[in-house]
Structure formats: C-alpha cells, structure tokens
Amino acid sequence: MTELPMAPVKPPARLISVTIDGQQVEVPEGSTILDACNQLGIDTPTLCYGDTLAPANACRICVVELEGARTLIPACARKVEPDMVIHTDSERVRHSRKMVIEFLASSVDLSITPVAQDYLRRYDGRPERYGPPAPADPERDHKRTGHHEPPDGQTAATVHSPAKLDNDLYVRDYSKCILCYKCVDACGEQYQNTFAITVAGRGFDARISTEYANPLPESACVYCGNCIAVCPTGALMFRSEHDLRDAAAWDESRQTQTDTICPYCGVGCNLTLHVQDNQIVKVTSPDDHDITRGNLCIKGRFGFQHVNPQPRAPL
C-alpha cells in the first residue's frame, strides 16, 4: 500500500515548563511567552503583534517581568526557556504598559482602535497629562534626520499629518499610525515582497513612506491591500470604508462576513466578504487558511465592483 501522500512527519517538540503568575504551564519548545500566557488564559495586551507576521516587538505593550532579567521582556517575541518565572501583572509591568498606551494615545489618533480605549482603562492611562496635542504637520514626510526644533513642552508632539487620498482603492491616514511595522513586513519580505513602503526617517519622525514620499500611484504599490489587512489602527483603510465612515454610514453591526472563494485565477484564495446593505464594503482573507494566510492580490481584494449593485447594469 502506498503511504498516504502527506508531508514528512516532524518529531514532536519537547515540552518546556514555565511558571507564569504562580501557575505552572508546559508549552512546546519554540513557543513564545505570549503563547504560554494564552494557554493559561492570561489576557495579554498587544498592538503590533499579528498572527500571520513574525513579531515586530515594537510597541512593547506586551512586556512581562522575567525573574532574573534586568529589564522587562516582550511576551510576543521571547521564546520560553526552561524554568522561567514570569509575572504579567506586577507593578513594573503595569507601569510600562500604562506608559506605552499613554505614549501612543497622546501622540496618535486611536479613535478607531477599540482595544486602545480598553487598555487605557485597564492601566489607568491619562494621555492628557502630556498636554494638548500638537496640530498636524504637513511637512512630516520631509523631516531632516537627526535634527529637530527644541520643543516648548506646551503641546504634546503628535504624528498627526494630513491623510493621503491618492487613489481610488485605499486611504493612508498616518495620524493613526503607531508604527507597528506590520504593513511594511506584509508588503515586504514576509508576504508580498513588493517593498513599496518602508519606514523612513528616525526616532519620533520615523514614518511609513514610499520613496521620496511619492503618491502611491507613482510607487511600486500593487494594491494587494495586504497592508490594510494587518493594520491594527485603521491608518490604512479601504476607500469604501473610508467614504462610508466619512458619511457616518459605516456600521459594523449591520455587516455580515461570508467566506467564499475568489472568482479569478486558479489559486483558490479564500475571501471573506464584508457586506453592508447588500454591498461588499471590504474584502479580507482568513489568517488561518494556509493558501492565503490572510493575503490577497488586487483582484481578490478589490475586484468585486462588478457584483455590487450600483455599477452593475441590469441585464
């Protein structure tokens, strides 16, 4: 009998035992502390962490205290080691988490990032204590690296800058950007490999940019929308969603999500159609399906207009 045509079986991973908040847990070698926390049902805040992407470990809101370590460590990125003793709700942990969410809420527009409000409440964050937010800066894309005007401290510096509406498919509003790197990773080596966007500049002036901050239609962008799919704050958004929000008509409670298969090429990508009022308003792909792992191309992501009622001429 022929063997079943399956992938070669890998030996099972060794189990590693760690202690988190006094509870012992065994997880497979190679798991992260976040995995172990999840196994114990410990709710760990995350912002830059994405299931399909390697941990960027940039936001640092998931930090935990490891006994014996000088500093806190990121739960999302740090792999478990035998006999680690970890605290996820110590004073130090709570403090750093509070400061991270305050830092972000005082400098970024988190108005459509629901978890941000949860985290602020959970850690008693008071972003207003840094002062009133500074206004949007139209020159943010062209800061001289390693140089800034001395602040007077009377307003809190922000990343606010005018939203970029330079094409019909999606909108980039970097006032909402927490610089989690996910869009860059999705556009780059981890999935799309188009490298249309990058982190440019440095420090607080670092921003997501095309080359020379050119408009998207002049960039290498292929409009796969895989960056939108991973954006946790709505900085990147379907034009359709943006316009509905602008018209105060975006209403997720009235939306259905249906999984189906893309009608175009023969790869068979799974689509999740977000439908409001019998109109497709957004298309995503399930993160956990191994054909797409959440990714699509321009046709799968945006090529649905022909079934939306408005432009479809009745036969």
């Binding site: 045509p5 019998n278 191309c297 022909h306």
Partner: protein, 555 residues
C-alpha cells in the same frame, strides 16, 4: 497526468522544496498568492529558475532566467533532457522501475545537443546546461507551468516534454517534487474534475474505454450515454464553420472576444441558428445572443457550490449577496431548462448534486460538505471519509513494486510556431495577462485600478527607436489575419523583435484580431502566444480614435 489531470504538488511544498522552475508562467502577476508560497521557498534558500520569452516580474526573482524564443519550449526541454542523460544525471532507479518508453525517448532527444538547443531557443548553451544539472541534482524540485506552455499549437506535446523531465529525474510523486499546471481560472480544474472534457466523465473516468464507469453513470442517471468523446472548443468552432453545429449554449464565457482570430470566431457565432448566453454581466457574447439568461455570481450570490484549485483542493463557496433583478442560480436555470425540455429532475440542492457526484467519482468519495467545511477544503483523491486528502499525487510510482500503470515517456518532436516570422512580419507578438486585470476584462474593468493603463503594444526600446515611434504613440499592428491600432509602451524586459499585448480591453483594442486560430489537435488550444506581426508608424490622418490614449497610468 498519467490518467488524472491535475497538478501533483501542493502550494505548501513550494515552500519546502530546493528548486522551483516556472516555465511559461508569470505567476508573480497571474497567480500572485501562489507566488507568495514560491517566495517563502526562495527566502528559505530554494533556487528559482524562470523560463519565459519575457523577463517578467517572476523572472526578475529568478536566480537564472532563460529567455527562450517563443514556441521553442520543446526544443529547450529536449536539450535539457539530452544533457541530463549524457551527464549521467538521469535517475536510473526511477526510470527503470516506474516508467516506460525510455529507450525511444532517449533516442528521440539525441540530436538535441546544447549547441543545437542554443541555436533553436536562443538561450546560451551554458545556461541550459546549468539548468539541466541543477534540476537533475536537486533533492527536491518542483516544475510549474501555465498558459505559456499550453497556448501553443503544440500544447499537449509541450506539457509532455516537461513531464518527461520530471520522469527523467524522478521529480514527481514525492513531497517537494512535482509537476504542476497552474490553472488560469478559478474552476478550470473543477471543470475538468466534473467531466467538462470531451472524453471524460466526472472524476476523470474515460467515456470511451471505461465501460464499467459508463455503466455506473447510466445506472445512476437512467439514460444511455453515447460511448464516444465530444468536441472540444476548437472543434466546436470548426463544426460551426462547417455548419454542422447550429445551436450554442454559452455560459460564463465570452467567446466573442476571447477566441483567437476573433474575426473568424465572430463569423462563426453570427452564423449560428440559435445562440443562448448565460452570464452575470452583459458581455459581447450576450449582446449577440438570441436569448440571454441572467445568471448569478456563483462565488458570492449562491449558497453552496464548489470549485477546485490548482493544488486539487475542492473548496466551498457561499452566498454573501442577494442577486439583482431576475438573475437565477446556474443550477436552477439548468434544472428548469431540463424540465421545460421534458425532464423533471426535481430541484436538488447543490449538496445533493454533489453527493451524487461522490457516489459516482471515487476520487471525490470522501468529500462531504461537512468535511470540506471543517478542513478548509480537501485535495483529491480522497476516496473515503477517513482519508485526509492527498497533498501530492503519484506516490505510487515510488512504492515497491510500483502500483498501477507505469508512467510513460513521450516522444515530443519540436515544430516551429505556425505563424512564421519573415521580412514582412518580423516581430513576434506574444500575449498574456496583467496583475490587475482578468481575461477579457468583463469583471475587472468595472473596478478602478490605479495600475490600469489600458491596452498597449509593448516593445523593446530598440524596436521603437528603429520604427521611429515614441511611447504613447499609436501605431498599426498587423498580422496575416488583420490589424489593429494601439499605443506603444516601452518595456526593457522584452528584447528586440519581441512584443507583448494583453487581451483585457477587447472593446477598445481587440488583440485577438491578430492571433492565429491554429489549434493543437490533441488539446484544442489555440496558439495565442505566437503571432507574427508588423508594426507601422501612422500618419496623423490614419489614426483611429483609440480608446486608450496613452501608455501612462490613469483611469
């Protein structure tokens, strides 16, 4: 292949193989998400070879690109084979045990020295040798192809020539080694699976030779099935030209614009007594039809239904939208049509229809809707409900002794493209797709793509300079069958003498006026990929008002 038409590997294997060859496939643009898997493999260290006349987006990722001349695929494959054999790199164990016809094959490729191969294909001998050795030496290697292989008059032999290479090196039937046609449409594979092939019943059961299978279907359906194969598409058109085929029922196709030599195709369609078109949008074909049946978009307006992708995975589709107006599901229309023709089939659900298929097609037997749902699709063959589905095909060729029929080598003689280049038609035009568009653009032209720049004639800058034409300038492109006008775009990834167009904008520029309808007698595919053309600069007054004004991006 070897009995069941489907790619032998899974996408996942592309991530874990050592060598990937894309032959006549620009997967970067035409199968973007499959290419993600390729890139995962590349980033893990796999080598990538791309064989394509154009230095496509895919080719630009390659460790080595082999830019063969259009229509010389068999020449290249045969040269590679001879080199592998002469270098002593053939997998003799596999060849001896699992194949037939090797001696004849070896003899047939003997004239294909590297030098001869270079002369015919244009690819430097050293580069051909490099690929031959790398492929033969790889522990795992996956070979994929697309329409660059099949849209030729030698389509079937092209495919067989590639399969020969897999057999010669044993790169088939193991994890990470396989032979894969990437399907151009979301259910080309499923159509084949369901018997939409002239000589097959569902599940690739032969209609002429497999009497037992035919008997099972006859019993299930309560009718006598004609024991002979039907026509493939090109044969249908030939039959229309002969006046033998008088009524055509087209659904979800746009032959008025998608056929090669479209002038001839239109004549054939116009000559019909009766044309029924069933579609979700008003295509050119619908416009010609006597009756139009408004269908629903099966991918989002119908609950149920399955498609099969290029890794043989059967997946469920679901309803997300209410269809507009009087549109009806395809299966409802068919059932109603049958009823009105005197056959009452009741109104089976799609799941009931599927379960009937499972009872008749052994390779689908284990795929209940419930399991398809639960497992995110299942790859055939899946003979029973406790079978996980098949990641790859033809593992049987590696069992001891080989199970079933051994895999045959085929003798694949090379013939030059029908449409010859000469002084009058000196430029080779080849066609293909672009990332944001799809086929004749019926669906894709309705969304606003920032990448879309309309139809252009893509030329190498040197050709443009010789013709004295500028980017954006409209020129006349003529083949032996007709001529069109199109604006010029420069593309350094072509070479002098090679031009490229798509067929996405037939309403503005009907590229298929140029292409040749010479078809492969075995598969019926037309030679879209190899047209001999001349390009002429226009005087101002010769210029038609072109639908596409310039080569720049824009809406």
């Amino acid at each position: 292949m070897f009995g069941a038409g489907g790619g032998t590997s899974s996408y996942k294997e592309a991530e874990e193989t050592d060598l990937l060859i894309l032959w006549g496939s620009n997967a970067r643009e035409t199968h973007p998400i499959f290419f993600h898997h390729v890139l995962k493999g590349v980033h893990r260290g796999a080598r990538l070879y791309v064989i394509d006349p154009r230095r496509t987006g895919s080719a630009q990722w390659a460790d080595t690109w082999l830019g063969l001349d259009v229509g010389t695929d068999i020449a290249l494959a045969n040269t590679i084979a001879r080199e592998i054999i002469h270098a002593g790199l053939a997998n003799e164990t596999f060849v001896d045990r699992a194949t037939t016809g090797f001696a004849e094959y070896r003899e047939s490729v003997e004239p294909w020295t590297l030098e001869h191969g270079e002369r015919i294909t244009g690819v430097p001998a050293e580069t051909i040798r490099e690929l031959a050795h790398t492929y033969a030496r790889a522990d795992r290697a996956i070979l994929c192809w697309t329409l660059g292989i099949t849209e030729h008059v030698t389509a079937a032999d092209n495919v067989l020539a590639l399969i020969n290479l897999g057999l010669l090196t044993g790169h088939v039937g193991r994890y990470g080694s396989g032979l894969n046609p990437l399907r151009g449409q979301n259910n080309v594979q499923g159509g084949g699976d369901m018997g939409a092939i002239p000589d097959k019943l569902p599940g690739f059961q032969d209609v002429e030779n497999d009497h037992a299978a035919r008997a099972r279907f006859e019993a299930a359906w309560g009718v006598k099935l004609p024991p002979r194969r039907g026509w493939h598409l090109s044969q249908m058109f030939e039959a229309m030209e002969r006046g033998e085929l008088r009524t055509l029922y087209v659904f979800g196709e746009n032959p008025a614009q998608s056929e090669a030599d479209s002038k001839k195709a239109l004549e054939a369609l116009e000559g019909l007594d009766f044309l029924i078109a069933q579609d979700i949008l008003m295509t050119r074909t619908c416009a010609m039809a006597d009756v139009v049946l408004p269908g629903t978009a099966s991918w989002c307006e119908v609950e149920g239904g399955t498609v099969t992708n290029s890794e043989r995975r059967v997946q469920r589709m679901r309803k997300a939208l209410d269809p507009p107006g009087q549109a009806r599901d395809d299966h409802w229309i068919i059932v109603e049509l049958a009823r009105r023709l005197g056959h009452d089939w009741g109104h089976p659900t799609l799941e009931q229809a599927w379960d009937e298929l499972r009872s008749l097609s052994p390779m689908h037997r284990g795929m209940s809707y419930e399991r398809l749902e639960e497992l995110g699709g299942i790859q055939w063959p899946c003979p029973s409900e406790d079978h996980p589905g098949s990641l790859y095909l033809h593992g049987r060729l590696w069992s001891e002794p080989v199970e079933g029929r051994r895999a045959p080598f085929s003798v694949t003689p090379w013939v030059a493209p029908i449409d010859e280049l000469n002084d009058e038609f000196p430029i080779r035009l080849t066609t293909g797709r672009r990332l944001d568009s799809y086929n004749t653009g019926v669906q894709t032209n309705l969304y606003s793509s920032p990448l879309r720049r309309g139809e252009t004639l893509d030329l190498h800058p040197e050709d443009a300079a010789n013709l004295g034409v500028e980017p954006g300038e409209t020129v006349k492109v003529s083949s032996r069958r007709g001529s069109i006008q199109a604006p010029v775009r420069l593309d350094c990834n072509l070479r002098p003498g090679l031009a490229f167009m798509t067929f996405h904008f037939p309403d503005e520029i009907d590229v298929n006026v140029l292409t040749i309808d010479a078809t492969d007698p075995k598969s019926g595919t037309a030679e879209y990929k190899a047209t001999a053309v001349q390009v002429e600069k226009l005087n101002g007054d010769e210029r038609q008002t072109a639908g596409v004004a310039s080569g720049r991006a824009g809406k």
